[in-house]
Symmetry: D2
Subunit: 316 residues, 4 copies
Amino acid sequence: MALTGVLRPGHVAIRVLDMKAALKHYVDVLGLIETARDPTTRRVFLKAWDEHDHHSVVLRETDRAGMDYMGWKVDSPATLKKLAADVEKSGLCSDLGWIAAGEHPATGERFRFTVPTGHVMELFAERGQVGNDCGTDGPNLNPTPWPDGLKGIAASRFDHCLLYGEDLDGSVKLFREVFGFGLAEQVIGGPDNEVMIGAFLSCSNKAHDVAFIRAPVKGKFHHASFELGSWEKVLHAGDVLSRNKTSIDLGPTRHGITRGETIYFFDPSGNRNEVFCGGYIYYPDKPTLTWTEDELGAAIFYHDRKLNDAFLSVFT
Amino acid sequence: MALTGVLRPGHVAIRVLDMKAALKHYVDVLGLIETARDPTTRRVFLKAWDEHDHHSVVLRETDRAGMDYMGWKVDSPATLKKLAADVEKSGLCSDLGWIAAGEHPATGERFRFTVPTGHVMELFAERGQVGNDCGTDGPNLNPTPWPDGLKGIAASRFDHCLLYGEDLDGSVKLFREVFGFGLAEQVIGGPDNEVMIGAFLSCSNKAHDVAFIRAPVKGKFHHASFELGSWEKVLHAGDVLSRNKTSIDLGPTRHGITRGETIYFFDPSGNRNEVFCGGYIYYPDKPTLTWTEDELGAAIFYHDRKLNDAFLSVFT
Amino acid sequence: MALTGVLRPGHVAIRVLDMKAALKHYVDVLGLIETARDPTTRRVFLKAWDEHDHHSVVLRETDRAGMDYMGWKVDSPATLKKLAADVEKSGLCSDLGWIAAGEHPATGERFRFTVPTGHVMELFAERGQVGNDCGTDGPNLNPTPWPDGLKGIAASRFDHCLLYGEDLDGSVKLFREVFGFGLAEQVIGGPDNEVMIGAFLSCSNKAHDVAFIRAPVKGKFHHASFELGSWEKVLHAGDVLSRNKTSIDLGPTRHGITRGETIYFFDPSGNRNEVFCGGYIYYPDKPTLTWTEDELGAAIFYHDRKLNDAFLSVFT
Amino acid sequence: MALTGVLRPGHVAIRVLDMKAALKHYVDVLGLIETARDPTTRRVFLKAWDEHDHHSVVLRETDRAGMDYMGWKVDSPATLKKLAADVEKSGLCSDLGWIAAGEHPATGERFRFTVPTGHVMELFAERGQVGNDCGTDGPNLNPTPWPDGLKGIAASRFDHCLLYGEDLDGSVKLFREVFGFGLAEQVIGGPDNEVMIGAFLSCSNKAHDVAFIRAPVKGKFHHASFELGSWEKVLHAGDVLSRNKTSIDLGPTRHGITRGETIYFFDPSGNRNEVFCGGYIYYPDKPTLTWTEDELGAAIFYHDRKLNDAFLSVFT
């Protein structure tokens, strides 16, 4: 985790147009597990199989796709208080406020704010654990390497989001200086390569926990990404997606950035998902990798070495 | 092998525009091994590492890309004579004739003919063996699973060609009835699905040894395919191709037809290559798999479920 | 297939001590599919998912483990008659006779005989097909690469048997000279390496369809092997076996012989099974690979380079 | 990293009996890269390809195998000072002292101490970076996913050590309470399962950075482990080891503990090495996984479900 106590992306709340179709996608195809449902707010809460916390994905049925917010789990209530104060002090965010405990099931209070790129983010410290069903003699006792009965792609974790917005510098400053993230990779451009176009930020040993791309929009959602254990599981994911006639955006392929092996696809509402594996082990003392704009194609899709039409133009 | 005694695709002769660039591609990138060179005819002979015969790929430098011819190894000189007579008797082929032994290095006489789709084919029975360098105590004694010193993609075998031509029915009739190939898969179309659009033919337990696509052209070459041992090697191939800035056509992905896992790319002259792995074990009593034209996208590229622009329009 | 018309190992009949336990193993763990049951003879018939024929494994409940017989599918009734006559003429076999059509469900008449190593073998030409459940618009129409609902290890095919017996030379002579098999690999030993200790025989492009090891016994069964598509599936198999507390003999590892990637384990009656992937593409003109007795360890278990205690001593 | 600022295992210093044989092993077989040599102290410094720091492995030629010491990189000189004081204050360690900057090439001062299990450990904050040779337009600019010219197994990182000693409780207390490590997994035994037999400790998102096994010895070394990217690379490692006739201890297989996929082998001096891939993503709020002694076999070697003879008895 970051020295600030930020542990990981704890949840992403995604807007869907039709909950039934969404659940078919997120449960039967992607393989998430439903853990709670809130009919009043038209929300369903899900987790990936290898997560212990109660939920990591929140689907909300409404009339417009996109991301409601992304939440970050921190290591203690004290850290939560401290970081909330730091966010306020930074002056970088707007719409600061607290969400009461229980608004998410099994979850303590959350501190909410809007980052400079226009995305709503949250911090929280407490969430009940429901386990990963691997223990054979108790919840965490003598475990098997994977549980029985997984569905579809069987993604193991919610991993990160890629987000589009204009004030990239502001959001990067927030995550680096207030939350202590490292800049694992960046894309630079402009006449003298003086503009940061993309930032891949890590609060862990993963190659990224959140990424931002500079674009003349506010609060846009490019994709939510889920982890798989191997390149063969990426192939299996492609097979499952095709069998279900899920719209695939691109892949299987390798990313230049993070080295991950990936496939992009769309949920029935048009929100992009990714499942991926691989990538290096990141440490705060690892040099930032830099991509120049002329190598942007290889940076994103290492094999094709060019962007597909959708990458820059389709988001929710 | 087929009951007729046809063993396998024994060679493909490809025209290249610049031999130096071609060798960089076929040797350093694809990983074939040069075994002979004939400056007079501007030809270079190569083999893949796990083939025992002297060569399986012939490159010829000239001013137009494409395939000169494809050769089939048969199990004996008697079979060669018998099949040459059968080809003649069939009346399906034109330009029949014998090529003297030695015209290819280490190779006996070849019987050459043009099949109904306009492709030049050959039969031959004899070729010297140079081994696969796996033996540790002699050429085929106490072998290792793979030899040291392989380059680039390290394709293990020349596997098949996909060819475009108008008289699909004629070429299919020749391969099935004269050469004893099985029709592993077919694509059908037309108003009542009465037209065979594609035929995937096998003389072995491989899913295909040659394939034909109906197209209003004569003797055109879509790709020559080389075998890899695993999906991870397909990823590695993609990485090697990108590192060498080789033009990738599509992939990594899965084919619907044959189930193979694949990546397509172009040599510097514009000839398409494939490396692939996987696919089922074919037997003559296996039912022919049929794809309808409306599923052509999934048949070719199972994940995308649609053809890319190049598949039908780019060939040499 | 061999030029003689022998297609493949068509079935193996295995004796089990307890049918209920055996079915848990062969269906739930190995992933075979039950296609028929014959209470009178206490037999259950099964197939692997990617086989089209009605069955490939016959389990019979009795008081002693081991192999009842192994069956070979040939390409036509004419071939069956011809090969039956050839077996008789060879003088190599004993206990020749015909089994009436229908004694196996969906199966024509079988010619049965005992080979020199003491194993009962059969030839047959006709068996009904039940398909592999991949077609989406009909049995073999617009298929998916794999069907839904597979269980456990999900072995795709019955592949070969390894058998122990004294008169190795006799059985090798029969398979090579009467059935037209190629000798893909051999192990040789004795003071001057003049004794063949093991023979790996192929009637296909697979590295082996049956193998014999010389041992001072008669008609003994070392293992029946089933095919998997990848090394990752071998890992998955190991996980499934451990989860089910199935006794694993050795692996995952690589074989030196055939290069296959493998795991050995025991059914509840003590019969050894193998699941494996990989290996080269065999052709009749491929040189025989030879292993000397001092390299026997590496030949069998390439990583350990030594046999485990069970390999030579445990069979049924 | 841990909140204390401990980043990772920064080096392991291993004693070897013959430097020439050791380098053949660590460079040609394991694939490490030599970065410096100190003839006076008979030491050679090496790094794995995907590490950026100057070195992570130190070999010293002497007359007894084993581990000299293990070093931990921390995030800053201030952390180094703080943790050195904390170690002293803890009273858990003996033989505390500072090693001058430069005693290791390209390395700042190191704080050395002996932990309760008898192992010499070090903390350090500064080490020069030599990069991973992936940048195509500069050291960290427009990188490829892997560099050219890797040798043998091509291990990507030094990952962790497993150490044997009597006072397990003391070392666990030190790493948890002073260094802030999490207890990812434990093995418990004794009449009432009240004794911790093994502890797998993480200062990162890896499943472990160091592990201790209780044994009636002092300062003993079980293995140093190196990371690979995939299960296929574990197979490749097994092939490379066999080709070089390296003594393999066990594997390829899966560990129950950490879920990693692994192969164990010995360097020419009898020091055990591991290469592995996989395992889950660890977080400090992940519940500790517990194995009971009766499941120790499955905990260590998940497929065999039993220890081999060497695991508990062979160490250096």
